[in-house]
Symmetry: C2
Subunit: 333 residues, 2 copies
DNA sequence: TTGTAGGCGTTATCAT
DNA sequence: ATGATAACGCCTACAA
């Protein structure tokens, strides 16, 4: 592989000049620039990005940590991040945290050891204090999916309360009043917020959330199954079921059908997230769209702005979900 | 950040010695090693991986290109690759090809420009000749999901013919004889192979694949919908439908239900791939498991062996799919 | 076993 | 506008 030195020799200019035309920040006369370009073409020269990194203290790579690589949710997020970063010529180094504190911390260390210019992370197990300290370190960090006041300028978050409100309203508006709710794990902030929104909607319709209409799930399909089983076993006559995410909604629907409940006639179901497979299940799921792709793009834009001085990017820390009406909710008259 | 130089000073040894204990390839006396370790700890020293790369001509990063980041199929593959590479302390740089020739080539160039030690790619649009040339270049390449004789030692592939055979047999064994087949795009090798396997199974049961039982789909849900519509519109009285992947199976099932076909009683459906959502659709899909996670791990192992001289790894180029029986196939008596 | 010194391919700070 | 030249932080013969 040709080096900058050979190029300079062939072009009959100095090292520094070649470097200048590569980075075209400083002015170079058109004539010499052409000579250099010709030489580069002739030698099929490609700058060695590692050497560039060492000299410039910029790796042009961004570390990304997500819970897991499979799963529609993170897929969307990664897609948003990768596409905008790639357009800017930046590389994405990926790693996973698996929803375990030790592995999340380890992953972040792993990324830092690689001299990433910035980190974009979606953590679930690590403490707020840890995040605060991380954000105060020397490497820029964007945190997706949480809000912590001390580091709010690093956070990108969804209005989960609004989402919970919209989901509940989707069935309330259709006349449902006996509504089961399957929540996410109590220790997850988004689960708490979605629940708050749910309750607000119920209040608006003079409906109250008794404990008998509430079940705490786990954000995966078994939680939906167990939740619906719980309601059915206790002879709760619910006509609608609101689930704090699509996985649980899917699990509940499978259980419902196994117990000969006709969907959506005998049981309406609403999910949350609008992951890809929401349109693969039957009846197609009415759910709350979680704009993860956009949030991923925004995270990328934030690093582009703060780390690479890119201008004119509209930065937005808060995202609003919206309802996607499909066919899993029936009307009660 | 502390450098190797400061460590050497504090420990009272030379630069080279510090480097030796970092890479512990060469022998260092226990005493000096301890001095160095203490100094490193005291200074909270972390080697600069960029400088290491420049000097050693090793980046410890592997470039990964997939069609897209969302989608269950690639998620599984990436998970397999990342987990084994991460364990070995290697970094994964990710990019996408979007099933377009230009973008795939561009992505590969992008990865090469980053001095990856190796590439793992799953391409769909690029020509065989291009791949052959790529594999003969100076950077090691693993190609997942295709077989090309000239570069077979670079390839990891699934026995799609066997998979097609197993899928067909799943319904044949249950007594079905009027079987519609929705294939993948004609230009995809795996689609062709799955079809060959399908036909072999039919022959075994003295059943032939007339053109009226065949439809060419697109590997996404609309293909399944259109395929079933095609059969129904032409009054083909099929009792079973074999689809060349799960997405199409899902699309077909939705269409079936919209047209009041009871599943699986009136129509049995078989998919291919066993992606995550196959268990979210109802009835749960009988399908052919595509061991993408394992294939991803194997790709990672191959680079570990060929690039990083790791020993005792069992290398395997061919993978066999197996049938996963669930509830989407009924028995005909 | 340990130390010396040259080199990896750039960028960036000075001069000129 | 262009050219020397010193970093950047580490690896690795070669020597001792």
């Amino acid at each position: 592989m040709a080096t900058i030195y050979e190029v300079s020799e062939l072009a009959g200019v100095s090292l520094a000049t070649v470097s200048r035309v590569i980075n075209n920040k400083t002015k170079v006369s058109e004539k010499t620039a052409k000579k250099v370009h010709d030489a580069m073409a002739q030698l099929n020269y490609r700058p060695n990005s590692i050497a560039q990194s060492l000299a410039s203290n910029r790796t042009n790579s961004i570390g990304l940590m997500v819970t897991g690589l499979n799963g529609a949710f993170f897929g969307q997020m990664m897609a948003g991040i990768e596409s905008t970063l790639r357009k800017a010529g930046k590389h994405v180094i990926i790693t996973t945290g698996h929803n375990e504190e030790a592995r999340e911390k380890d992953g972040i260390e792993f990324l830092k050891s690689r001299n990433c210019d910035a980190l974009i992370i979606h953590v679930e197990a690590v403490s707020n204090d840890y995040l605060i300290e991380l954000c105060q370190g020397d490497i820029p960090v964007i945190v997706i999916g949480c809000y912590i006041d001390e580091i709010k300028q690093h956070c990108i978050e969804l209005d989960n309360e609004l989402g919970g409100y919209l989901a509940a309203k989707a069935v309330l508006e259709e006349g449902h009043r006996n509504i089961g709710y399957i929540s996410g794990p109590e220790n997850k902030l988004d689960a708490q917020q979605r629940l708050v929104g749910h309750q607000r909607a119920l209040r608006e319709y003079d409906c109250k959330l008794g404990a008998e209409y509430f079940y705490t799930g786990n954000y995966i399909d078994t939680g939906g199954r167990d939740g619906l089983k719980h309601f059915l076993d206790n002879k709760q006559s619910i006509t609608a079921l609101v689930c704090a995410n699509d996985e649980m909604a899917s699990g509940a629907m499978t259980y419902a059908r196994d117990h000969d409940l006709e969907l959506p006639k005998e049981l309406s179901v609403v999910g949350f997230d609008n992951v890809i497979f929401a349109r693969h299940i039957y009846p197609q799921l009415t759910t709350v769209d979680n704009p993860v792709y956009e949030m991923g793009m925004m995270a990328a834009n934030m690093v582009l702005e703060t780390v690479y001085q890119q201008q004119n990017l509209k930065i937005q820390h808060h995202f609003k979900p919206k309802l996607v009406k499909r066919n899993s909710v029936s009307t009660i008259n």
